[in-house]
């Protein structure tokens, strides 16, 4: 067994989990799915520089062989951008939930207040102060 196999199979498993979650009906699951897919994509991009052990791209007079620094630079910004995207999507989901009372993404406009503990109207459910 090789590291290449471990990385490739891990990427595959992350993608599979990501696709499955992205196809669920609620925003939070979709966000989790996106996170998994992002991990897979970042790993894949990184792996395009191939797997190299113990040769970080820190230049030194005495060292002659390094791993490819370019995929690393790309992935570094990708990780940060992933965070920006996740944050934006999470907050979009939150705002849409607050606006409609539903966190569905399946096109059904069924309010899920009864299950979620957030009443459509505070006075109706929460009792008098």
């Amino acid at each position: 067994m090789t590291y290449e196999f471990l990385v490739a199979s891990a990427i595959g498993v992350l993608v599979a989990g990501g696709i499955y979650l992205a196809l669920r009906a609620r925003t939070f699951q979709v966000v989790l799915g996106l996170t998994l897919i992002s991990h897979a994509v970042n790993l894949f991009l990184f792996a395009s520089g191939r797997l190299v052990i113990g040769r970080p791209p820190i230049w030194d007079k005495t060292v002659s062989a390094y791993t490819d620094p370019l995929p690393q630079a790309l992935v570094l910004t990708a990780i940060v951008i992933t965070f920006g995207m996740t944050a934006f999507v999470v907050i979009l989901a939150l705002r849409s939930f607050l606006e409609t009372g539903s966190d569905h993404v399946d096109g059904d406009r069924v309010p899920c207040d009864t299950q979620d503990g957030m009443a459509e109207d505070g006075r109706a459910k929460g009792g008098e102060p």
Binding site: Y3, L36, P56, T67, D68, P69, I79, L94, G107
Partner: protein, 942 residues
């Protein structure tokens, strides 16, 4: 003044004026009209300074490279044709500004009016002095947009909105055709420079692209100049304020098409197809417009159809492909601009002073408003082509050319139809004057109100009418030099000798003119009977047809959208994933080959296998626990950590540092969001659907995993890594190659990325700051604590520990930042570490305590970060290097030793600030809104 500066000022003046007016929005109207008038007058003065050399034959031009790779130059050229049009645009523009100052009602939004008018003037001016066809296209589109604003100026009126939309749809649609035509023209001529294209007419006409070029450019010109069958937008544009109509439909907007036909005349004209198409379209438009004008009752509508007809005549003359006909067209452009602007202004005066524009309610106005009557009658007589006015001479010239073209092989057809059109023109022009000013008032009310306006309003049309009279009386000294020079510029060669005069003896032109006048008089005499016939005739209503076409398009577009766009994200993602996976499988199937390459693998260690197993298990747990959301989040954290370990293992220390800090903030973010979201909702989808999605997911996973495997077991192709490694220290001054790539080699990418991150932060701010009102606000206030939490809100131990840790973690952040250029670290990582350090304060001590103590707001961090990064790049440009070139040097200080200063460090500081701002913005806003909800819930519970 140097030539380049003169031309640039000339072009920029109207735009500067528009901006100045818009900036002084609330100022009194005299300020607005004053700025507009001053800009127009200054433009005229500049133009006058160019008159002698330009009309002498030396075109004034200047050019600056803009996007040389596209052939787009900022190239300006004033030749006699451009000069004449610029003079019309600025001169009539000045008169319109004066007229509008007195015309507009007291509470009118003059700031918007004059700003739009100046924007339009600038766009028109740009068209006529652009020396590059791509630049011309830009201005062309701008006229469509600016005229939309002007026609729809009275936004509260539905007909103004519809008219503006129709004008935009027709002229904008024509603009698209024109873009295509001009691009093909540039390809055929091998240049986008106007002078070069004009010199290569033979090449263009011989090109196989010529029919397409001709067709597309003609569509652009015909839509703009309201030629049949695109004429219908013009009458509906009359919903604009009258000064706008006077401007757009005498000297500018509709003349743009005529201008372009004239401009490209040496390139396009001369072929049989050009002659037939342009002549026939112009002829049909001329007759049709004149015929309809005879039976309209709204003064502006009469003038609108007469404009269509006159434009038809101009287009027809250009279509003859004869130099003498071009001469007639040039003189007609001058005449038409003068009398039509005067007539529109007169119509505006009459409406202003009587309250109506319906010719059936007016009459006998000569007694009530003699000055207006004199002005309008003279202008209408010029429009009718009666001697001794300018209109007569241009109509004579037109008639003189008609026998030269035999349409459908019939030499008499064109003269006959032209005479018919001219006769109809005489008819509506005579009706305009006679029914308005002569006879008895038809209704008492408008007549009793009627009186001449103040001199401010009639001065402009009076001046124009005087011009049209002088053009008839002394045409040679007044117009001949200009007309001759313009004709030479249009045709690109010497002009045959010509004589502009009222009397050339008895010839065919005079006889046709006479026939037209007599016919027109007969039409006026029989007008009532003809009107009856006209009103009984079934006629298509262009507006209704247009609206029906729009409704049809609207309906089908809606249907297409509904069919393609379901509100279900699941369905759309499902289709996207399935199609992508199918493409991958198809590619693998067709491509064949073996999956596993020959590259030797790295032997695996036990820790590697354990980490891998953990990752697989955590992924499975996330999927199976996705409805128990808190637990799923913990497993997400595990996955992130193992990915981070992978980066450590495979020689990517920078990535590992980034990954671990991003993981922390991501989990914090999701936790905060989860606080307000449903925690453990029941599963929604049915088992069948879950199985289907599962199958798709496994297939996708196998595909991507397979691709990764195939890639990892093969050697990479030639890489540019060696270049980066070799030049990082010597060229970029840093030994951490990843960081040097980020802040130096590919700094432009990084700049884009931090801007995206900043925008995401601001978007988050916008989404959450506005959540306090409306339905979202109500739900937030109704929010209930639904998780068990510690009775102590701010545990003493945590608060104390976090305050001790803060300076330590800030030091780590600064250290990571400073060493980033040479060792793992840098702006991205430092920002994340500092963000976590600050967030810990929020967690421990609470939002209020921490928020009150933050030194700088997140908006400012983002803004200063991006500005600093951009400024670093611009600094390099100031020193004469390309954008974002870095600079570094080594310095020596006692005690500290040798150290390096690099401009890349400033850029990295910009990255640091932006990332810190964006991360803090997301988390801080989220905890802010959660705190608001919690406070509301607390009040409920009390």
């Amino acid at each position: 003044m140097p030539m380049g500066l003169t031309l640039l000022t000339l072009t920029a003046l109207p735009f500067i004026a528009a901006l100045a007016i818009a900036l002084r929005y609330g100022a009194p109207r005299a300020v607005h009209s004053g700025i507009a008038a001053a800009a127009s007058a200054a433009g005229l003065a500049l133009l006058a300074s160019l008159a002698v050399p330009v009309l002498g034959g030396a075109a004034a031009s200047a050019s600056w490279a803009w996007v040389p790779s596209l052939g787009l130059d900022l190239s300006l050229m004033v030749d006699p044709l451009g000069w004449m049009f610029a003079a019309l645009i600025l001169g009539i523009g000045l008169l319109v500004v004066i007229f509008a100052h007195f015309y507009l009602a007291r509470d009118e939004d003059t700031g918007r009016f004059f700003a739009s008018l100046m924007l339009f003037q600038g766009a028109m001016l740009g068209i006529v002095i652009a020396g590059n066809v791509l630049l011309l296209l830009v201005f062309w589109e701008l006229t469509s947009l600016a005229s939309f604003l002007l026609i729809g100026f009275w936004q509260h009126k539905p007909e103004a909105r519809q008219g503006a939309r129709m004008a935009l749809a027709v002229t904008g649609g024509g603009g698209i055709a024109l873009i295509g035509g001009m691009l093909l023209l540039g390809l055929a001529a091998g240049s986008f420079d106007l002078a070069a294209i004009l010199a290569r007419g033979d090449i263009v006409r011989a090109s196989p692209l010529y029919p397409a070029i001709l067709g597309l450019i003609l569509v652009g010109c015909f839509t703009k100049s309201a030629q049949f069958p695109f004429h219908f937008w013009l009458p509906h544009a009359m919903a604009a304020p009258t000064p706008v109509s006077a401007y757009l439909h005498s000297a500018t907007m509709v003349k743009a098409g005529v201008f372009l036909l004239a401009r490209l005349w040496p390139v396009l004209a001369g072929t049989p197809e050009y002659t037939v198409i342009v002549t026939s379209v112009g002829l049909v438009t001329m007759v049709l417009g004149a015929g309809v004008a005879l039976f309209r009752h709204d003064l502006k509508s009469i003038l609108a159809y007469s404009t269509i007809s006159q434009l038809g005549m101009l287009v027809m003359l250009l279509g003859f492909s004869l130099k003498a006909a071009v001469l007639a067209a040039v003189l007609s452009i001058l005449n038409h601009a003068a009398f039509k602007a005067a007539l529109f202004m007169s119509a505006g005066i009459i409406e202003h002073e009587t309250g109506t524009r319906d010719i059936r309610r007016l009459g006998g106005l000569a007694k009530a408003m003699p000055i207006t009557a004199l002005i309008a009658t003279l202008a209408a007589a010029s429009m009718a082509g009666l001697p001794p006015l300018g209109g007569f001479i241009s109509k004579e010239l037109m008639f003189g050319q008609t026998p030269a073209i035999a349409l459908l092989g019939l030499p008499w057809l064109l003269p006959a139809l032209a005479t018919l059109g001219a006769g109809l023109s005489v008819g509506y022009a005579l009706r305009f004057a006679a029914h308005l000013f002569a006879g008895q008032p038809r209704e008492a009310e408008p007549f009793l109100r009627a009186h001449d306006p103040g001199a401010g309003m009639w001065a402009a049309p009076a001046l124009l009418t005087m011009l049209t009279v002088l053009l008839g009386l002394i045409p040679m000294p007044l117009a001949a030099p200009l007309v001759g020079a313009v004709t030479a510029a249009v045709t690109g060669g010497p002009v045959p000798p010509f004589d502009l005069a009222l009397w050339h003896g008895v010839n065919l032109a005079l006889i046709l003119s006479l026939v037209a006048v007599v016919g027109g008089a007969l039409l006026l005499w029989q007008h009532k009977r003809l009107l009856g016939l006209w009103e009984r005739a079934p006629l298509p209503d262009a507006k209704r047809l247009f609206e029906a076409a729009m409704r049809f398009a609207d309906k089908w577009v809606r249907k297409a959208i509904v069919a393609a766009h379901t509100p279900s994200l699941q369905t759309m993602l499902m289709v996207s994933f399935a199609v992508t996976i199918a493409l991958v499988i198809d590619g693998a199937w067709v491509g064949g080959g073996v999956l596993t390459g020959t590259r030797p693998g790295l032997p695996v260690s036990l820790t590697g296998i354990i980490a891998w197993a953990l990752l697989i298990a955590a992924t499975g747990a996330v999927v199976s626990h996705s409805h128990k959301r808190l637990r799923a989040l913990i497993f997400i954290g595990v996955i992130g950590l193992i990915v981070c370990l992978a980066f450590v293992q495979f020689s990517a220390p920078d990535l590992a540092l980034t990954q671990i800090s991003v993981e922390v903030v991501t989990v914090l973010l999701l936790l905060l969001a989860l606080n307000l979201l449903p925690k453990a909702p029941p599963t929604l989808s049915r088992p069948a659907r879950r199985w289907r999605d599962g199958a798709l997911a496994v297939t996708g996973g196998v595909c991507v995993g397979g691709i990764a495997w195939a890639m990892l077991t093969r050697d990479p192709g030639p890489s540019i890594a060696a270049y980066h490694l070799a030049n990082a220290k010597s060229g970029g001054g840093g030994t951490n190659v990843v960081n040097v790539i980020l802040v130096d080699f590919r700094a432009f990418d990084t700049l884009g990325e931090i801007i995206v991150l900043g925008i995401a932060g601001l978007g988050i701010f916008a989404l959450l700051e506005t959540a306090a009102t409306g339905a979202a606000g109500a739900r937030l206030r109704a929010w209930r604590e639904d998780m068990p939490h510690s009775p102590e809100r701010h545990p003493m131990m945590l608060v104390a520990a976090s305050r001790i840790i803060l300076p330590l973690s800030l030091s780590v952040g600064i250290y990571l930042f400073l060493r980033g250029h040479n060792q793992p670290g840098g702006g991205f990582i430092a920002a994340l570490v500092v963000a976590i350090a600050v967030l810990v304060q929020y967690l421990a001590a609470g939002f209020d305590w921490s928020d009150a103590r933050k030194p700088v707001g997140e908006h400012k961090l983002i803004a200063w970060g991006v500005l600093l990064a951009v400024a670093t790049g611009l600094g390099a440009m100031l020193l004469g290097s390309p954008f974002l070139t870095s600079w570094f040097d080594y310095f020596h200080l006692p005690l500290i030793g040798t150290f390096e200063l690099a401009s890349a460090m400033l850029f990295d500081a910009g990255v640091f600030l932006t990332v810190l701002g964006a991360v803090m913005m997301a988390l801080q806003e989220l905890s802010h809104i959660a705190r608001r909800a919690a406070r509301a819930a607390g009040e409920h519970g009390a």
